[in-house]
């Protein structure tokens, strides 16, 4: 960015000033549009519930309290969904990262029997798919519908992640691996002691992408778990709540301590939306680097 300092910065013409003002204003506006909805949702969840019900909260919160978030734990369907979502996010992501790391490492080994054939057989699955319904019929046949493992098993092998890991490992100097092999380390030891520690950045990148995808999953819950409401993911549950108020009323009554008068459907909808959003908002600034690296890696395919 030094070019700017040497160039346009030193002598600021009137045109530059106008340009900067207009440019910055446009970006401020767009950024505002991106974050205001979440601010609006948030102030409605922490304001006085009767004012929220009367549509009185528009720009700033009134009568701040956090009871709505506490009350959510009594909405039984919701607590179920959040447990399922956390479980699949943690387990699904961890296993996916392990599989990707291992598969990525193995595919860098030229000695493997028919390596390029197997590698291509895995990678080519990125470019075609049988379609939603055959996939569903397959899952049905495997007994993975209405079954928690239906969330985990299909997401373990992600060819794209395997490519990313493979490309990354290939950029690690092979002398490290060779010297370890000469010292008598097995492939497994090389993997755990050398490859994994050195590939942490790429593994972190695929982990954050995997975690976000798991957290936001709607389709598989919708299609596979149709008969098991106890396995609905958070997004699925939120969608149901957003569409119908009657479900919500029942769920609210099922929680004993919540008085239906204090909570209304609007507040509950907004609060659950915020609960779905907050983890990502909290994690995102710390992980932004990995997210951005991820999209850049997309350009380097192997």
């Amino acid at each position: 960015m030094s070019r700017k300092k040497s160039g346009s910065f030193i002598k600021k013409s009137a045109g530059d000033v106008v340009f900067n003002v207009v440019n910055i204003t446009v970006f401020v506006l767009f950024t505002f549009i991106c974050i205001f909805p979440f601010y609006y949702l948030f102030i409605n969840t922490i304001s006085d519930n009767s004012l929220v019900a009367a549509n009185q909260i528009t720009l700033y919160p009134v009568g701040i309290h956090f009871d709505n978030y506490i009350a959510l734990k009594d909405v039984s369907d919701f607590s179920n969904s959040i447990m399922v979502t956390i479980a699949r996010t943690v387990l699904g992501t961890a296993l996916m990262v392990i599989v990707s790391a291992f598969a990525g490492y193995l595919t860098t080994k030229r000695e493997m029997w028919k390596r390029s054939f197997w590698y291509r057989a895995v990678v080519v699955t990125m470019y075609f798919n049988a379609g939603l319904i055959p996939w569903y019929m397959n899952m049905l046949g495997l007994g993975l519908t209405d079954n928690f493992w239906g969330y985990i098993l299909p997401c373990l092998v992600v060819p794209y992640n395997i490519i990313l890991v493979k490309t990354y490992i290939e950029s690690i100097p092979s002398s490290l691996e060779e010297s370890a092999t000469i010292d008598g380390a097995s492939a497994m030891q090389v993997f755990t002691k050398i490859i994994v520690p050195l590939s942490k950045p790429i593994l972190a990148t695929i982990a954050v992408f995997g975690a976000v995808a798991n957290w936001n999953s709607l389709q598989d819950s919708l299609i596979l778990m149709a008969n098991s409401p106890e396995l609905y993911t958070l997004q699925h549950r939120l969608w149901i709540y957003l569409n119908t108020s009657s479900n919500l009323a029942t769920a609210m009554q099922s929680g004993g301590t919540v008085t239906a008068a204090a909570l209304n459907t609007k507040v509950i909808k907004y609060t659950i939306s915020m609960v779905t959003v907050i983890p990502i908002m909290l994690v995102y600034p710390f992980m932004q680097r990995y997210f951005e690296e991820g999209i850049m890696l997309g350009a380097v395919k192997g």
Binding site: G7, S8, F19, N23, V26, F27, F30, T31, I33, C34, I35, P37, F38, Y40, N55, Q56, I57, T58, V99, F102, A103, L106, T107, R110, E111, W113, W118, V122, T125, Y127, A130, G131, L132, I133, P134, W135, M137, N138, G141, L142, G143, L153, P154, V157, N216, L218, Q219, I223, Q235, L238, W239, K266, Y270, S273, T276, I280, Y284, F291, I295, A299
Partner: protein, 490 residues
Amino acid sequence: MSAKTASAPIEKAARPKGRFVLNVQRAAIVLACAATFYPGLNPARISSAISTNVSLLVSCFSFDSLVANFQRVVNQGTVPGSIFTVLQVMSIICIVGVGLCVAGACMSLGNNRMRHDALKFPVIGSLLMVVSLVGMFLLANTIASLGVSSVPGYISGGYVYYVFLTVVTLLTTLVLVIQDKRRTEPLEDKPEMKEKYKLFLMFTPVLALTFVFAYLPLWGWRYAFFDYKAGGTLSADNFVGLKWFTILFQNDTTRADVIRVLTNTLAMSGLGIITSWIPMIFAVFLTQVPSKRFRRVVQTFTTVPNFLGWVVVYAVALAIFSSDGFINSFLNNYLGISSDVNYLMNGDNMWLKMLLWGLWKGVGWSAIIYISAISGIDPSLYEAAEMDGAGRWAKIWHVTIPCLLPTFFVLLLLSIANILTNGLDQYLVFSNAANSSSIEVLDLYVYNLGIGSGQIPMSTAIGMFKSVVSVALLFGANAASKKLRGESII
């Protein structure tokens, strides 16, 4: 690579005998192993009352799933529960047998010594399978002789499948044992396996998962040729050939539907393609902002929506545009205009609205790739342009944009290849009674038809059509890229 080709003929010369029998044995074992996960091929389904969702593996550890469909009959004692306990034990024996065979098959990739040592595994394994299958047969007979109508005795297709594989494994193993006895050359001192086979064995779980979840669904294309109803079976009776494809093109209502859906799909993808320069311009102008901190903040906040699911975007839409949302609340409270319009129930301009939501969610994120491309541009290009008296706009137009075009071009080709794939989530969550006809894209149509109305064959046929066209488009885009840029995109 050259070493590999050189060693291949030597290897072939070293072990010419017994490879065929060995490969047959391996294939049988792989098939037996795969079927333990597949409920449709469960040999322990000795009564048609046993759930079709129970695989052999599940039969091993879940008594409850075995008897789930007739719990009451078992509780009453009409059918003794002990039958199913024994069945569970038989399943365990069968699985252990399969497991031993698998171990043997893996070890058979080793040297002669290892293969010799490994022979005992398929011997014991296949004998265990024989024992368990005989046991299951007797249990099926016992159940049949009880004559309880709700729990009939039954020999499933899976049972026949396993009997076949067990016989094959047993026979091939016997041949291999005989071959091993007749062996003349001495065995190696230590059982060893070549590195290449070890690596391959380590990779097999990945291959298995890929096969099961990416290749096996292709087998589901057969539903497009049958008159299948949910819960039914496929047989020669309901084979209908190309009926569904004919209907697709000849039935007026279906054809009108397909044309409407394709119009929506192409319109929305087309709008996306037409506006695909927006992230690039976003990046160009963002990098013109002098303050680094400002750029950072904008980038952070504008990328966040990309990481929220479409349901959350829908929640945002409700919060802003529904009758009790922000816009109405703002009009009422600050401008004194009484209003309670639900903007989401308006089906006009759906294509444009979906485009705007897509942009709101994705622009900041898509811009990142251009932002890093811009920071990778050689500063000397700008310096040279300045020497020539180029101003801000000239530098953008003559340096920045041309440097970004290759990236833009690749992304454009990929989006053309994906023209039929809009994704399901966005259109599903935003669809309602007022907009359903103009929001239904191909993915949503297939979902509504297959999952919503249970028309499995028809939706499979449409999905097949889409898959084939998509692959063709991808190859087309790739060929275009090769021709124009000399580089492939896949």
